[in-house]
């Protein structure tokens, strides 16, 4: 291993979210390493918007994200499972009735 190679810890990991100009919300596009938020923004611009993919960038330290647990997916999302009446298609509309 070359000298110095392990002298410095990895820069922290940042998750990158980009909004394109089509009225969509910010979307996760990937991650990168940077020493601080300013550098993360600059790097995100160079890595993820070389072809005008975005008009706004959010950077979030990966360590600051709390995510749901995949293994608990079943129980966690269970409350939404049995409420089919939340979808309009649950209800039958009488023949000929419009604008519902």
């Amino acid at each position: 291993m070359p000298k110095n190679a392990r002298a410095v810890r990895d820069w922290p990991l940042w998750e990158i979210f980009i909004r394109s100009d089509h009225g969509l919300a910010h979307k996760h596009v990937g991650s990168l390493h940077a020493a601080d938020a300013t550098m993360a923004l600059q790097n995100a611009r160079d890595v993820y918007t070389r072809r005008n993919e975005g008009t706004s960038i959010w950077v979030v330290r990966a360590a600051d994200i709390t995510a749901s647990v995949p293994a608990e997916r079943g129980a966690f999302f269970d409350p939404a499972e049995d409420k089919v009446y939340r979808h309009p298609t649950f209800f039958t509309v009488p023949e000929g009735v419009k604008h519902l």
């Binding site: 291993m1 070359p2 000298k3 110095n4 190679a5 392990r6 002298a7 410095v8 810890r9 990895d10 820069w11 990991l13 596009v29 990937g30 991650s31 990168l32 390493h33 020493a35 601080d36 550098m39 160079d46 890595v47 070389r50 072809r51 995510a67 647990v69 995949p70 293994a71």
Partner: protein, 321 residues
């Protein structure tokens, strides 16, 4: 379909988790970073994705060699943008590998110490400007054929990285082909330069798809895991079928006297590949292996103070905030 697992750990736990994993593969649902996965699947992916990332990074060197000597300002800008894209590809892929629980540090270390492999094509030298054309046309062309199926691979972050990469690769291939078009329409020495580049890059490009299926022992498992969707030989054939007519259009001759269209097969037949050369280069004895690694090690060492200073600066600002 259930395939015998190669690692003991997973075989022992032919568990609910394993069944759920297999089911997802069958239904074409992507596997995501925090999902349960067999250890051998994870390891294979780390190896494959990081090798791929290393290839993008080392791949900047042969072309970087020509940035200052490109024949016009426009060509310089185009080549600069192309090489910058390759850096981006390396970064997308390192990020994808990191979602599997390896640190960037470890991946860098594996490359710099010579333990990790990268595509052997980048151990060939770029002797003339025509080589930049041949690389874009053939090497990026082969990469596209390799990578398009991977946009549908089973591991989500890898598939998404490949989607971004494939969108950018078409520009790479077109700009390379354009260099060849201009050279072939030029003076006799310019055309000869294009032919010479094709002569040197053709076989290494054909080798980019890896050893023949008969000598590719891990392929079957990878295909079951859907991190490889077509065999090496299938992809190689596709490359040759696509590229041969392009060489005709340029008026160049592919250096393979057995290359001819086979009406019955609906494919081009082609001559034997020198696999000894391939293994020699993979093992480290290609024309530029030492140079390439040296360049990466130097870049890493010369950048050490920058990495250190940036981190110290960020920490100081956090303390003051």
């Amino acid at each position: 379909m259930y395939t015998q697992m190669v690692d003991v750990e997973a075989a022992g736990a032919a568990s609910d988790e394993q069944r759920r994993f297999d089911e997802k593969l069958d239904r074409g649902v992507t596997i995501e970073p925090k999902d349960w996965m067999p250890e051998a699947y994870r390891k294979t992916l780390v190896r494959q994705i990081s090798q791929h990332a290393h290839s993008e990074i080392v791949g900047m060197l042969p072309e970087g060699n020509w940035i200052t000597r490109a024949p016009s300002l426009e060509r310089k800008l185009i080549l600069l943008a192309k090489v910058q894209d390759e850096a981006g590809h390396g970064l997308y892929l390192y990020s994808a590998a990191e979602t599997l629980g390896v640190a960037r540090d470890e991946l860098t270390e594996a490359l710099l110490s010579g333990r990790a492999k990268y595509s052997s094509i980048f151990n060939y030298p770029t002797l003339t400007w025509a080589d930049v054309g041949a690389i874009g046309w053939l090497v990026d062309g082969a990469a596209i054929i390799n990578q398009i199926p991977l946009t549908r691979c089973s591991y989500g972050p890898y598939a998404r990285a490949m989607t971004r990469i494939c969108k950018e690769e078409s520009f790479h291939q077109r700009q390379g082909f354009d260099v060849m078009v201009k050279l072939c329409a030029g003076t006799a020495p310019q055309k000869a330069m294009a032919q010479d580049a094709l002569d040197r890059w053709w076989w290494p490009a054909v080798m980019m798809f890896g050893p023949p299926d008969s000598a590719s022992p891990n392929s079957e498992q990878s295909m079951h895991w859907k991190i490889k969707l077509f065999s090496n030989d299938e992809l190689r054939q596709r490359f040759i079928d696509q590229t041969a007519p392009q060489a005709d259009a340029l008026g160049l001759v592919i250096p393979d006297c057995e290359l001819r269209w086979n009406e019955a097969r609906g494919h081009y037949d082609f001559g034997a590949v020198d696999w000894d050369e391939f293994y020699r280069v993979v093992r480290g004895d290609g024309p530029c292996n030492r140079d390439r690694l040296r360049a990466r090690v130097d870049a890493w060492e010369e950048g050490a103070w920058v990495r250190e200073a940036a981190l110290a600066h960020a920490e100081k600002r956090t303390r003051r905030a």
